[in-house]
């Protein structure tokens, strides 16, 4: 009885995975997203090679210069090379965004699994926590937390985790509620498998796909959050290059050198576009037939 | 006799990523004024799509792929969207299977009944409301003034279906298309609704096309029947004659597979095999892979309906085999 249930669940999981391998290169959004993101990540990784100035090197004699051979995108208000700052900003922001997604993903998924599977007071309590956190506007809570904890990258991770676990919990809980009524779970339970095993081996692989898809778009949210914090002066601290700070610094020169604020913003939009396309493509691929 | 509706070689397609699914693949039938025609078949036979095609209410994924639909001299298959729209409701009305989903959940039922006369007949609000109450009385809804203010979810299944019938009658159409109107109702209510439909037909002289998979319901309601299989009409004729002495092996199979309380058997009789893949149907007679009487000449060719004597027609070229079989072992037709 247990073996049959295991086999059934295996089959369900394999179905998902097989679909993925088969079609990824034929899904336009996935390919487009991966290309865009891949290019940006590549540029960011190769930043030291592709740019030839130090992003924090000031040159007060050559401020606010336009594009030239040495400075393809000109210089900012402190004479720093825009192109280098753009690339290094990508490094910083992308790295922080990717890492920042992991903790909420892990914690949120775990809580969602438990709440969905065990139900009753576990679920009620979880819902209460979720509703309380959700009552705070995302940025308000992030900013308040960063203020309380102090600035710096480590505290950004903590703040995003405290605020971000909620979405994963909701998604996973929803999936679990549906999945736990399916035959393979009932069969596993009837077969006497322990709760831990059911959750880990049977529920998790089937409910996690939605969480993964969301994680992709969550990275977008995190990039926006980091950039916004940077704009407000609460994010990654200078002199490390960060797109948000670049936009903030450029705002004073909006009338004369509007490109200072515009270009980093475009970089954000393109990165976000790549990630969104990737997320859409992934959602398409992982959707059961 | 003039026909109110004549359908010739109707085709409805569902384009699919891998090919085309022929939901209706050359169906023909006709209806006279004042008559009730039943269309019977299993799910997948194309009967619902055929019905919907008549007024151009196919689902988005489907396409009218051919044939003629002549209603009062006008070919609806090639009519403009405007013409179709003008005919809907006023000349041809429709009743759907699931009244809970077929009624707008956020609009009061009285409003929904009155909408046709209000918008299309130019009635004033008051007159349309009065007409709605009148119709509700006609279909046997008690306390119409109160019920008119209700929402669909506040009414029982039987009441909802009565509302649907009231809507269908609201613009005094000549023809009502019924898509399994009683399938979703429980048996006692089903009976009430069928009796209501019969009495309305007698009162108002409206013609009806009644689609169902339930042979008993068709037998009770209709004078003539068309049997559909795999997107085609395989047999037509007066209900009594067709059910007592079917002239198509599929009709025979259908009749035999209706469980009868009075007839004790060890095994439930079914038609062997499975319904065909409508994207890639069998060659020749669609039914031949499952047919107990199939011969060599059933495997290839076209098998349109051919008239027999009286009002009957069949697509089967070996129909006497079916008739013989039923003479030997009569089917006690339900109903």
């Amino acid at each position: 009885m247990g073996a049959a249930a295991e086999a059934f669940a295996e089959a369900a999981v394999i179905e998902h995975r097989r679909g993925f391998r088969r079609r990824w290169y034929r899904t336009p959004s996935f390919v487009a997203g991966a290309s865009i993101l891949g290019t940006i990540v590549l540029l960011a990784l190769l930043a030291p090679v592709v740019s030839w100035h130090d992003p924090v090197q000031q040159n007060l004699l050559g401020i606010l210069q336009g594009p030239s051979w040495t400075h393809p995108l000109g210089t900012d208000e402190l004479g720093r090379d825009e192109w280098a700052r753009l690339l290094y900003g990508a490094r910083t922001d992308l790295r922080v965004a990717f890492l920042a997604v992991l903790f909420p993903f892990a914690i949120g998924t775990a809580i969602g699994l438990l709440a969905g599977y065990f139900g009753r007071w576990v679920d009620t309590l979880t819902n209460w926590f979720v509703n309380v956190v959700v009552a705070f506007p995302f940025y308000v809570l992030i900013i308040a937390l960063v203020f309380a904890l102090g600035s710096g990258t480590r505290n950004i991770y903590i703040a995003i985790t405290i605020v971000g676990w909620v979405s994963y919990t909701r998604i996973v809980r929803g999936e679990v509620l549906v999945a736990k009524r399916r035959e393979y779970v009932l069969a596993a339970q009837a077969g006497g498998l322990s709760n831990a095993r059911i959750i880990a081996r049977h529920l998790l692989p089937n409910v996690i796909t939605q969480a993964i898809v969301f994680a992709m778009s969550d990275i977008v949210l995190d990039i926006l959050a980091i950039v916004t914090l940077g704009y407000l002066g609460l994010g990654v601290q200078p002199p490390t290059a960060d797109w948000g700070k670049m936009i903030a610094d450029g705002q004073t020169y909006l009338t004369t050198h509007w490109e200072l604020s515009t270009i980093p913003g475009i970089a954000v939009v393109i990165t976000a576009l790549g990630l969104s396309l990737l997320a859409d493509g992934l959602a398409d691929l992982l959707r059961p037939e | 006799m003039t026909e109110l509706l004549e359908v010739r070689d109707l085709r409805v397609d569902f384009p699919l990523p891998g090919g085309v699914l022929h939901a209706v693949d050359g169906a023909s039938f006709e209806l006279r004024a004042g008559e009730a025609l039943g269309i019977v078949g299993e799910s997948g036979s194309g009967k619902t799509m055929a019905l919907r095609a008549l007024v151009g209410l196919l689902p988005r994924a489907a396409r009218l792929a051919g044939g003629e639909i002549v209603f009062e001299g006008v070919d609806l298959a090639s009519a403009s969207a405007e013409t179709l729209r003008a005919i809907r409701g006023r000349s041809i009305a429709m009743i759907f299977q699931e009244p809970m989903t077929a009624l707008n959940p956020v609009m009061r039922v009285g409003e929904q009944i009155a909408e046709g006369p209000l918008v299309r007949l130019g009635y004033s609000r008051r007159r349309a409301h009065e007409r709605a109450l009148e119709l509700m009385r006609l279909v046997g809804i008690p306390d119409p003034e109160e019920r008119a203010e209700a929402y669909a979810h506040e009414l029982s299944g039987g009441m909802r279906q009565r509302v649907m019938i009231a809507i269908a009658l609201s613009m005094e159409p000549k023809l009502i298309l019924c898509d399994e109107p009683t399938t979703a109702l429980d048996v006692t209510i089903q009976d009430q609704i069928l009796k209501l439909l019969a009495s309305l037909r007698a009162q108002l002289g409206v013609s009806v096309v009644f689609v169902s998979h339930d042979l008993a319901v068709i037998a009770q309601t209709c004078r003539r029947v068309a049997v559909m299989y795999a997107g085609q009409v395989v047999e037509t004729g007066p209900v009594e004659q067709v059910f007592r002495e079917p002239r198509h092996p599929y009709t025979l199979g259908l009749l035999r597979s209706v469980p009868d309380v009075d007839d004790r058997r060890d095994v439930l009789s079914t038609i062997p095999g499975a319904p065909p893949d409508l994207a890639d149907p069998p060659s020749g007679c669609r039914f031949h892979p499952r047919c107990a009487f199939a011969q060599d000449d059933c495997v290839d060719g076209e098998f349109p309906l051919r008239a027999l004597d009286g009002e009957r027609a069949t697509a089967c070229i070996h129909h006497e085999l079916a008739a013989e079989d039923v003479r030997r072992e009569p089917v006690i037709a339900g109903g």
Binding site: P137, A272 | R60, M94
Partner: protein, 314 residues
């Protein structure tokens, strides 16, 4: 169940959430490294005052007791005094509330005005060019940092094309407010409109396939009437829910937009207070934001119930 019954029931349901919100706000100060009393007093800290606060707030007592005292103070309206302005934090928040409320209201209005026609266009012209464009926009649009969008709008309409709108400030009088609020409200609306458009379009497409739309068509009604009287009427219901769920995002957006356009609302108050390390005000504004979100969410729920008769009859 009547509407008032429904509202009353929902009000009772949010009480635990409001309490939870206060707990979280209470914990904020305990996250700050160091002595909470010193954090609150900032520059005004003297050993005497610190000791006083320790006693009053019970900072040596267990947390639940501290929380209880905090709650009692809150109910009295005492959220501490602003370190910068030397007025009660609560009063400061209330004073600065109107611009933020204007922004939220106008932003919501604009977002609906933008989303509904676009979604209707996309749904009725499904898979054709207008739909493709409408679907592509959220894809790109959701990647716009809201503050950057604001700056771009400022650049375009405030500084270059026509200089039609002021680059900051609140203006005076209703018309002045509307004038100054136009670009900020538009920024807020554009940030949330893609989500609404996506949701409403999906709802409409679903509704178009529904049986009651087929019934409506079978009455021979014009497509326009089917769209407005039947499809939209149903589709907006779920969109109101989506708006409610995303209201936190909308309200949070005002924080940033106020910063970009220099609007004297509570968002700007919060940012300034953060840089001045004025903890009582930060705490008060955080609380205010959460209460606002909860109330607005309740409001959207009520609107939902008004639009959907099925909801009240549980």
């Amino acid at each position: 169940m009547s509407l008032t019954g429904y509202v009353a029931r929902r009000l009772i349901q949010i009480v635990p959430i409001v309490l939870g919100v206060t707990v979280l706000v209470f914990f904020l100060i305990h996250l700050v490294p160091g002595d909470p009393a010193r954090t609150i007093l900032g520059n005004h800290a003297t050993p005497h005052k610190v000791a006083l606060l320790h006693r009053e707030w019970g900072l040596d007592k267990p947390l639940p007791v501290q929380y209880w005292r905090f709650l009692k103070r809150m109910v009295r309206g005492d959220l501490g005094s602003s370190l910068f302005y030397s007025v009660p934090a609560g009063r400061l928040v209330v004073q600065r509330l109107p611009p933020t409320l204007w922004l939220i209201g106008l932003g919501t209005l604009f977002s609906v005005l933008i989303a509904v026609p676009l979604a209707a266009l996309a749904a009725t012209k499904r898979d054709r060019l207008p739909d493709q464009i409408v679907r592509a926009v959220p894809l790109v649009g959701l990647g716009f940092p809201q503050f950057w969008l604001g700056i771009m709008l400022l650049l375009a309409f405030g500084l270059h094309l026509g200089r039609g709108f002021p680059v900051g400030g609140y203006g005076s009088g209703v018309l002045g407010h509307l004038h100054s609020m136009f670009l900020p409200a538009l920024t807020v609306a554009l940030a949330i409109a893609p989500i609404l458009v996506r949701s409403l379009r999906a709802s409409l497409l679903e509704v178009f396939e529904s049986d009651y739309v087929t019934t409506a068509r079978s009455k021979g009604l014009s497509e326009r009437r089917v769209l407005v009287r039947h499809a939209l009427r149903n589709a907006v219901i779920s969109t109101v829910s989506v708006l409610g769920v995303n209201i936190g995002f909308l309200v949070g957006g005002t924080l940033i937009v106020e910063q970009v356009f220099a609007l004297p609302g509570i968002g700007q108050l919060m940012i300034n207070s953060i840089f001045e390390r004025d903890f009582p005000v930060v705490q008060a504004v955080t609380l205010a934001f959460a209460i606002m979100v909860v109330l607005v969410y309740l409001l959207t729920d009520v609107v939902h119930a008004l639009l959907d008769p099925r909801v009240r009859f549980d």
